[in-house]
């Protein structure tokens, strides 16, 4: 029997979700073809703001990669646009001349950003914020230009502005109303939001209407109707969206503002359906993913059943959350006071918290939460059900207002049918069932199995809480995780995750946004946060020396008597007469108490007073050996093929190349490597974080060895032919370690925890991920600062700040 053809126009979030729902029911019944205008697989448009920040690339927001399409036997024409729907012949024609017959046609063309038709709006540097292309354009503009103006103080505009701030642009927001996000917030909340954003460095021009855009070829500024002007090198218009219904309209399908659909997502033409932002149901075209996903479910049902079943789609209750770090905003339903409404209000100006719950006829009809949004799922549920709240106390409607309300689990009190993930409509019961049935143990797994937290990510803390709560006592040791330190209840993983998803960029910001219990942290969390920030933002983050342990701040090892040791680099353990002479001279000049050969194949100069360090470095004029750092220490080598009668490979050459390449890289803990040229293993490759052993025509790589406290032999990671493959594997391995391990976790403990097989599956088997890891490592390496000894000796201020021992004598 011939398979039925489904053609989907629009490779976006709503369309692909519909396909996923169809495949869940009917994995093999259909032949599926997809046209997508954008030259990418389906990605998470919501997280473009994360990309805008420049710290993650598109690979990380891809929802379904090309392999997924292949696995599911779906033909994807990415970069090809559907241009014509021939409803008589039932075929779709594309710009590149393809002709595709359909039995069922799904239109999911989404929206276009609405561009104000102002004179000058066509100038270079005037863009929207809608897709990857816009995002890339903003990132590249930020490298050349300084002044950005965002037109539109709504959700999207503010997220764009925050991204531009992170890209180090001076960011002005122009808004035509006197209040930000006036369609979602009432005045008090709007005012608090503006204050908080100003504190983050955003500047606002309220109640301003733009008249025209100034400039020659490229934008140079804005002129307002009141005659004033503002300079700009980049203008981002975020004033709204227009459903994309042109193709449908031109093909004779009924449209209004968008494509008209009934409760079963059918358009006016048989066998043609519309879903997503391009569809208008009951007069509403939605602009958020939650309703679109509900529509997708209904449409899948309709297509698979070949008939209308059930009640179909009945419209959605929408709500808003702003994804700007440091400000928690939630809004839903009727939030303004009206004649027949009453409201519960909580306003704590000290804590910056505002809550308003609007009630009509004893039912919650809307809410605004600012500064603390934990009660949002509960409120939404009440609104959806139209629950009668007569007799319910304030603390039942707003549980966080209870004395010590935050203590305990957020999700414990929720009913199984209450929603955890609003975007994807996943309720508590679904998640608990998946955790128990499929034995899930991490948020990532819950994401994959249930779709919860897969869109805007706002519910991730709830999912984590529910996971911990569900696993409870049976969780065993691995899961009952220790908080990072006494300053927070969050674990290392959670802090790292929050830094990435909330796009935090400064130590203080992390502690503020994540509600640290101490104002300035401690010696445990500060270095860890400093490390996580550096990994998350390799290019932008400026290291915080006051959060470094003494050795890493001073770039030398402190000794029991307060003096320091100096270990210069000797790449691969190879030295020469010049270096040795220099070390001898410096040792004489400064009376160095002890010269010693280290276990790392180089020379240690011990017992040097703090104040002498910069001049010792200056006189040595050798790079720092990083013998004090959470970084690459040494790459030990054996003599190898040049001299040794058993040597099969150039171990010295490879060792030096590796040490030079990864020199100065920050890692969770110290990293030691070694290269031996035969299995006799004279460089002790078997007990290194990464050990390399040459054999005839190949290299073996051993991972996770340790010669320290817990002696452990490394395990065979892989065997490769060329030195390029060795280097690529090291890059992928070290980068994954950098991103995945906890701060102060050596590779041996890390691999013991996550398993060597897991590491292999990510860095060897998953080709896409391997490539991405290598690319991120290259970015990190490009951004490395110069040798610290050099930069300190040539910087008078730092020299004084860190090393001066000032002497004051009083004559009495």
């Amino acid at each position: 029997m011939r398979k039925e053809n489904i053609v989907l126009i629009g490779n976006g979030m709503a369309g692909i979700r519909t396909i996923e729902e169809i495949l869940k029911k009917e994995p093999n019944r259909f032949t599926i073809t997809i046209f997508g205008k954008e030259p990418y697989p389906n990605y998470n448009r919501i997280l473009l703001s994360k990309v805008l920040q420049g710290d993650s690339d598109i690979n990380e927001i891809i929802l379904n990669d090309y392999d997924w399409y292949e696995e599911k036997n779906i033909t994807l024409y990415a970069g090809d646009e559907a241009e014509e729907i021939d409803k008589k012949k039932k075929v779709v024609r594309s710009r590149q001349g393809r002709e595709c017959p359909y039995d069922h046609l799904i239109i999911a063309t989404g929206s276009n950003a609405f561009m104000l038709p102002l004179p000058g709006a066509d100038k270079e540097g005037v863009i929207a914020f809608r897709d990857i292309k816009d995002t890339e354009e903003m990132i590249s503009a930020s490298k050349k230009y300084r002044r950005a103006v965002v037109i539109g103080g709504g959700l999207l505009g503010l997220e764009a502005a925050r991204g531009l701030l992170n890209l180090d642009m001076e960011t002005e927001v122009v808004h035509n109303s006197s209040y930000l996000m006036e369609r979602q917030l009432d005045e008090p909340a709007s005012r608090m939001l503006k204050n908080d954003l100003e504190a983050q460095g955003m500047r606002f021009h309220m109640a301003k209407d733009t008249e025209k855009i100034l400039g020659k070829k490229r934008v140079e500024g804005l002129k307002f109707k009141d005659g004033s002007t503002l300079e700009a090198d980049l203008v981002v218009m975020a004033v709204g969206i227009r459903p994309n219904a042109v193709l449908a309209g031109a093909s004779g399908i009924d449209t209004n503002r968008a494509i008209l659909v009934n409760d079963h997502m059918e358009t006016s033409v048989k066998d043609i359906y519309a879903v997503g932002e391009c569809a208008e149901h009951n007069g509403i075209a939605y602009g958020l993913v939650a309703p679109l996903y509900e529509q997708g479910k209904v449409l899948a049902e309709r297509i698979c059943a070949k008939a209308r079943t059930g009640t179909g789609y009945q419209g959605s209750l929408t709500y808003t959350q702003l994804k700007v770090s440091g400000v928690d905003v939630f809004s839903a339903g009727t939030f303004q006071d009206e004649e027949d409404t009453k409201a519960i209000r909580v306003h704590d100006e000290f804590e910056g918290i505002y809550k308003k719950v609007v009630v009509r006829d004893n039912r919650v009809v809307g809410a605004v939460l600012y500064g603390e949004t934990a009660d949002s799922p509960r409120l939404l549920e009440m609104m959806k059900k139209g629950q009668d709240i007569t007799g319910l106390g304030k603390t039942i409607i707003l549980p966080s207002e209870q004395e010590g309300g935050e203590a305990g689990s957020l999700t414990a009190a929720m009913e199984p049918f209450e929603t955890i993930c609003g975007c994807n409509g996943v309720c508590k019961g679904d998640i608990v069932e998946a955790i128990q049935k499929d034995g899930l143990t991490s948020v990532e797994e819950v994401k994959k199995h249930t779709n919860a937290a897969r869109s805007c990510g706002g519910c991730k803390p709830l999912v984590a809480d529910l996971l911990a709560h569900t696993l409870g006592d049976e969780a065993g040791e691995g899961l009952q995780e220790e908080p990072m330190c006494g300053c927070t209840d969050l674990t290392h993983e959670e802090v790292g995750e929050e830094i990435r998803t909330k796009q935090l960029t400064l130590t203080r910001e992390v502690m503020n946004v994540l509600h640290w219990k101490t104002s300035e942290g401690c010696s445990k969390c500060r270095p860890a946060i400093n490390y996580y920030l550096g990994v998350a933002h390799p290019k932008e983050y400026e290291d915080d020396p006051s959060s470094r342990f003494v050795n890493e701040r001073m770039h030398a090892n402190i000794q029991n008597d307060g003096t320091y040791s100096v270990v210069p680099r000797m790449y691969g353990g190879v030295t020469n007469p010049d270096q040795l002479r220099k070390i001898a001279e410096v040792a004489d000049k400064y009376d160095v108490p002890l010269l010693k050969l280290t276990g790392g194949q180089r020379i240690d100069m011990l017992g040097i007073p703090k104040a002498d360090l910069p001049s010792v470095w200056e006189d040595l004029n050798m790079p720092s050996g990083y013998a004090y750092a959470k970084s690459l220490r040494t790459v030990k080598t054996c003599v190898g093929e040049d001299f040794c009668r058993f040597g099969t490979q150039d171990s010295i050459g490879l060792g030096i190349a590796i040490e030079k390449k990864y020199d100065r890289l920050n890692t969770p803990h110290k990293v030691k490597m070694a290269v031996s040229a035969c299995p006799r293993n004279c460089a002790e490759s078997g007990i290194k974080d990464l050990g390399i052993v040459g054999v005839e025509g190949a290299w073996e790589l051993y991972a996770g060895g340790n010669g320290g406290v817990d002696l452990k032999g490394g395990e065979l990671l892989t065997k490769v032919q060329t030195t390029e493959e060795v280097i690529d594997t090291i890059s992928a391995y070290l980068q994954y370690y950098r991103e995945n391990a906890r701060y102060l976790e050596r590779t041996s403990h890390w691999i013991g925890r996550v398993g060597l097989e897991h590491v292999k599956s990510v860095i060897l088997d998953n080709k896409e991920e391997r490539k991405a890891l290598i690319a991120r490592m290259d970015t990190a390496l490009e951004a490395l600062p110069e040798d610290p000894w050099k930069s300190i000796t040539s910087n008078e201020k730092k020299r004084e700040e860190l090393f001066e021992q000032k002497k004051v004598e009083v004559l009495q």
């Binding site: 004084e800 700040e801 009083v810």
Partner: protein, 107 residues
């Protein structure tokens, strides 16, 4: 109480010579003293010697009113020099005055 009877104010440095978050070591009459500039611009001074094994407190990580010793991570108050529980001990704290941009210490 004997200590407070005979002290003299000694000029040690200008305010700008101190950096927030990074302590500074100054020898006054041969005695090594660790100076701290807090986030609210106060200057504090304690003997640069940890009550545990004499670690140089001027090299520790600073957090609010405390410094963590670089040798074995004891937590010492920069206000009164006391080690925080569970550790016990105390290092001398000096009183500091700032006049204009000049910093004086009572010796």
């Amino acid at each position: 109480m004997a200590e407070t009877t005979e002290t003299t104010a000694v000029y040690v440095a200008d305010v700008e010579e101190f950096t927030k978050g990074i302590p500074k070591e100054i020898f006054v009459n041969g005695e090594s003293i660790a100076f701290f500039k807090t986030n609210s611009d106060k200057i504090r001074a304690i003997r640069n010697s940890c009550p545990h094994k004499g670690g140089p407190l001027s090299q520790g990580i600073v957090s609010g009113d405390y410094v963590f010793c670089p040798l074995h991570d004891w937590k010492i108050s920069t206000v009164d020099g006391k080690a925080q529980a569970p550790d016990v001990g105390c290092t001398h704290s000096y009183s500091v005055q700032v006049e204009g941009s000049s910093v004086y210490i009572q010796i």
